[in-house]
Symmetry: D2
Subunit: 386 residues, 4 copies
């Protein structure tokens, strides 16, 4: 097995985008709990994201969600982010919170509403131009709740048309990333329920269209790492939305529900070339910190990804291949598990220190006073939430 020393250089380029909305309040349909220190402005969200980066060195970009993060002056916002030490990353569109979208957006039966949804995405492209963002990520809430309510087939065709209209406006260095989800908020069908649908839609668009894999958007018992391997094989894995789940799209901290699954996913990412610095795969969090503090929740998350990436990089791939080639089931499994069972936390702490980072980002954050400061300062105003 490689030593940590041998793999540690590969950790240098790791970058995990954090979502601006993770710093606002989130919750379930039953209740969104408020919490002291929650941002009231997009600038405060970016400041919090930047704090995550300062303590971990892992989160150089913050993703925006439009219209939640709309501002008048994107150049100023970009500059503000740069001052804080981060960049604006992926732009996420939203066609699920306007009354017009009750029965769909890009797939809606009414051309007026489809046009509105398309235009919303074109606006997102303009924001991308202004912020230097590369990716437009589209997650659709489109779907239906009752059999017969909607015509699934024509919606699929309209989706293709709507996406094409958006894709046509992409700049050469921009990408459209389509996210799939099996259910919620629609409860009978969704218009992009699985990676197969996302794939056929993006393949119809062209080379700049990719698939986004949210780790919580699958049916129970789906082998997610297989999909990672397949999308990388097909050259269409655009980005990850990391989180974890026990039941549905629980949006818990990545790696908290099933760390071994995260390890397997990162192993396939590495195996398929998705971890290379120029792979084009964007790693991103998409989580809800309903009951835990948000900033340390984000710190814990990027650390979890880093820890499992380290372990995945430590798999002795030569021994693994030899055992696989020999049909040695238990031997191959053991080589694989040896890496997973290796505790890299002390090595990572030392590695951080050599890079001017705190050995324990969680502790350093707790001791930094940042949380106390924002809780004291951010009084009044309206806390942001979904």
């Amino acid at each position: 097995m490689p030593t940590f020393e041998q793999i540690s250089q590969q950790l240098d380029h790791q970058a995990i985008e954090v979502p601006s909305w993770a710093y606002g309040n989130s919750g379930t349909r039953f209740k969104v709990f408020g919490s002291a220190g929650t941002p009231r402005t997009v600038q405060e969200k970016i400041a919090d994201a930047a704090a995550v980066h300062r303590f971990t060195g892992l989160a150089p970009k913050v993703a925006l969600h439009i219209p939640w993060d709309k501002v008048d002056d994107y150049a100023a916002l970009t500059a503000y982010a740069a001052e804080q030490g981060v960049q604006i990353g992926t732009i996420n569109s939203n066609t699920f919170q306007d009354d017009d979208y009750k029965l769909g957006g890009l797939t809606h039966h009414d051309p007026v509403i489809r046009r509105k949804a398309i235009d919303h995405h074109l606006e997102c492209l303009q924001i991308m131009d202004a912020t230097g963002s590369q990716d437009l990520k589209i997650w659709l809430a489109d779907g239906s709740n009752y059999p017969g309510q909607a015509d699934m087939r024509s919606r699929q065709d309209r989706l293709a048309e709507s996406l094409a209209a958006i894709y046509a406006e992409l700049k050469d260095d921009q990408r459209l990333v389509l996210e799939y989800k099996i259910f919620e908020p629609a409860f009978y069908h969704t218009d992009v329920p699985d990676w197969g649908t996302a794939l056929v839609q993006v393949q119809a668009l062209g080379e700049k269209a990719m698939v986004c894999l949210d780790t919580g958007h699958h049916a129970p018992s789906t082998n997610v790492e297989f999909i990672v391997a397949q999308l990388l094989r097909l050259g269409r894995l655009g980005s990850f939305d990391f989180n974890s789940r026990f039941y549905a799209d629980d949006d818990l901290i990545v790696g908290s529900a099933d760390p071994f699954q995260l390890f397997r996913i990162m192993f396939e990412v590495v195996r398929g070339g998705g971890y290379a610095a120029d792979s084009g795969v964007a790693f991103m969090l998409d989580q809800c910190h309903n009951v835990e503090k948000k900033i340390p929740g984000q710190i814990r998350s990027v650390l979890n990804v880093q820890e499992m990436t380290s372990r995945a990089l430590m798999v002795d791939t030569e021994s693994l291949a030899a055992a696989q080639q020999a049909g040695d089931v238990l031997g191959a499994h053991e080589v694989f598990m040896d890496a997973f069972y290796t505790d890299v936390r002390a090595d990572l702490a030392a590695w951080r220190e050599t890079r001017g980072l705190p050995a324990s980002p969680m502790r350093a954050y707790a001791e930094s006073g940042y949380q106390e400061t924002i809780e004291a300062d951010r009084v009044g105003g309206t806390q942001l939430s979904w």
Copy 2:
């Protein structure tokens, strides 16, 4: 097979409680859509519930949710309901929307918050005294999101204590009905995840404690009718929360996702004595009409229950027993399916007319002008929602 004529009398006593909150707006964590005509007061909710009863003859009671439906004068509210032609039914408690309950209510590690949660239930008991309600239904949002976050075992013990404190205050003719749910809003563990847990908790309380079965609160592929049969066998089926689901707790219109399952459930209800007028089983809806109109959504729901009850009553139980006793797998299945496949809609329409009800409650409602009236009248104020 019995004729519809032969079973029609058994339909006379059918009663399905409707929830006051079904008439307010509901939605998902992504969005609650408003809709014209939505009640602004509990009285308007009761008026809508009464409309459902007028058109169907099936919904003589409306369940309240506290504190959503708190009023100053419950006697007046009860009288108002009576004027509208309905009664106040089950009182539902709520320990999930106060900031104090973020980490639990009846199971909370802090005795102050547990006391607050207990007191909330005692207040519900007082409301029951004032409204003449018989059942206190407790659905707990208590649980945790992360392994290690909470001590599941001591929470179970504290739950027992808290429930005992509430149970002690029940009048002789009142019942405590405990509802279980596998997940949501908690995403790692819930404190009453399954019927087994609900059962052991209510058995520890006494004869007036029962289990509520919400048809959407189970793990995927759970055989719900088996649980119905078991709880009836044990004398602990207190009530149903009817709805339907494809994925999680989707809270769709009962019978819309899997009418055959509803048929099987109603068959076991009848088989186990739960349909008898004095069975003590309360039938109730618990649904969310996120995208469809609420009042016709409720009408459709009670009709679905009525239709599947009719079919279940029509199973030729003698032939069924004979085929089962003969080990005739296909024969028994066919007897069962014969009832399910029998279209009772025309018979039910005729039956309704003999009882002074519209043959088609859906059409009668649409033609009644009620919807147009409330949409025109209920302008201004704040639409109620969860």
Copy 3:
């Protein structure tokens, strides 16, 4: 809504292939129960299949499974089938019962075993030539049980190569149909787990490669009719393996677990053009009659498909489209359900009689004496099973 009269002509061309193996014994890993009258030869299986067709008019073809149904003289077998009144249909390959295939077939890491698996399929093609069969159906048991056991990515590449080698030998009028399955007999990953994988593999082959959708091969809560719609849209739905399930790949009688799902599937088939006589979609059963009698189990199955097809054809598509276009959620759902709730059994019985078929194929079979005859005659020899 159309009357039964109006749709009845469309029932005339309905054909559902039955699998030879359904007439042999099947079971679970725990036990395969024997039963009186079970075929000892492929000819007896074909005779039983022909009986299903005689009583229903719905099953003109019988699918073979190689090597289970290998004979020396396929011309003779084809002639025998013709005498019995049926044709040989799909040829199903088998790379899961030879010791060499323990760790895979077409994806195996050892080129010698891959070659053997390819050659097995080439032999199947020869049998197709001899029997006049059009479709080679490939269901792969390939996969792994333990993380690390196998390299998923290279197996996917090897699968592509192996399929290409088989595809190259297809005659112009022959097709390769690839079936996907989420799990079993492999319990960590399967090499064709989902429709997306099957699609990308067959798209890489050419126009004569199609996807087979087995209704029991999905993750829990998958919307199967969406996949039907999508594959039809893409022109790649080659065939169905019909059965039903409550839990996993239970292989129960189609329509017995969730008749409404079967209705929805048939509706999408019709909607997408898959029911047209020249659609190229092959409808086939793939079931296990573990505890029920096999021949009536098959009769019940084809009747279930016919009943749900009839109901699906009766959907008032004009009213449905109007309600969908108006955004009338409940209205559209009701139009849809009206067809599902319509009891077509009496109409179908009459329709059968006009075509010289027994009104009740189940009863006619029971009264025919066929079962008693085979139970009396088929004594000695070895009952066939998987």
Copy 4:
């Protein structure tokens, strides 16, 4: 966090029963693959089980399955086991492989077959007397495949009667342990589908009746450790059947699919007193080694349990309780994860050596020549399988 040193003494009494059938061939309904060296006699199975104990010190007992392991002279078999260094453990009954049990055993509608099933269990009790076994474990394959096929309610009553007849014959120091399973081999309902049903059945019997929890017998997404906590709380956790799963009852090596779940389960076992030497909880494997070598598969399994037990014992329960009490969600979670992420393998290797065991049981077995010997010696005869 406690050091390994501090918890290592608690490892001394760990004992994991191994099942005799794990050494025979197993498989799926598709194929049971043979493998060199597979036992042909129950004595050879016991010899293999004893090998697992010699290399690990963890498996002092071997469970038998009746009738698979029937012999004429149980005293001789017990003596043989003792010579090999192991004891006979749990006796497992089997009412699923006789043709009479096709439609059930203890729940069968025919009293003659019920009596036969009861008598089979009484025979098992006699074997227990002869072998000194303490536990009779009952896993029922009883259930039905089609709605209507069976009367679930009366089967539940008959089950209670049948179990009572068996329970009445238990000696004072013997126990009846009832296992539940959601599905397979029955595919619509099983007569003991969940822990709730098992509990009410054993509670009706008396103090010597307990529940067996098989980790693979739950619906997808069930929180298994909650059930562990609950059954321990109720004093009814009799035994574990350890294995792991991705999909259904996959019966893979325990800890291979989700090691974190195994850790959580062991944590609740310790938390609830189930790990105490006198707890009465029997830990047992129940797995199928379909594609891997069986003896090293068993060695790996008991090591996995030992590793996760060690980690579970290392949870800093004081810090955990403090964080939980403070409502510190992330802090409590981190304390919990700290133990899970601690690599105990080197410590365990050293611990083994101080107890005269090989540091690496896997390597020691591989180098021992045992496998080569049995592969060479066990030629001819019939390999045992399910």
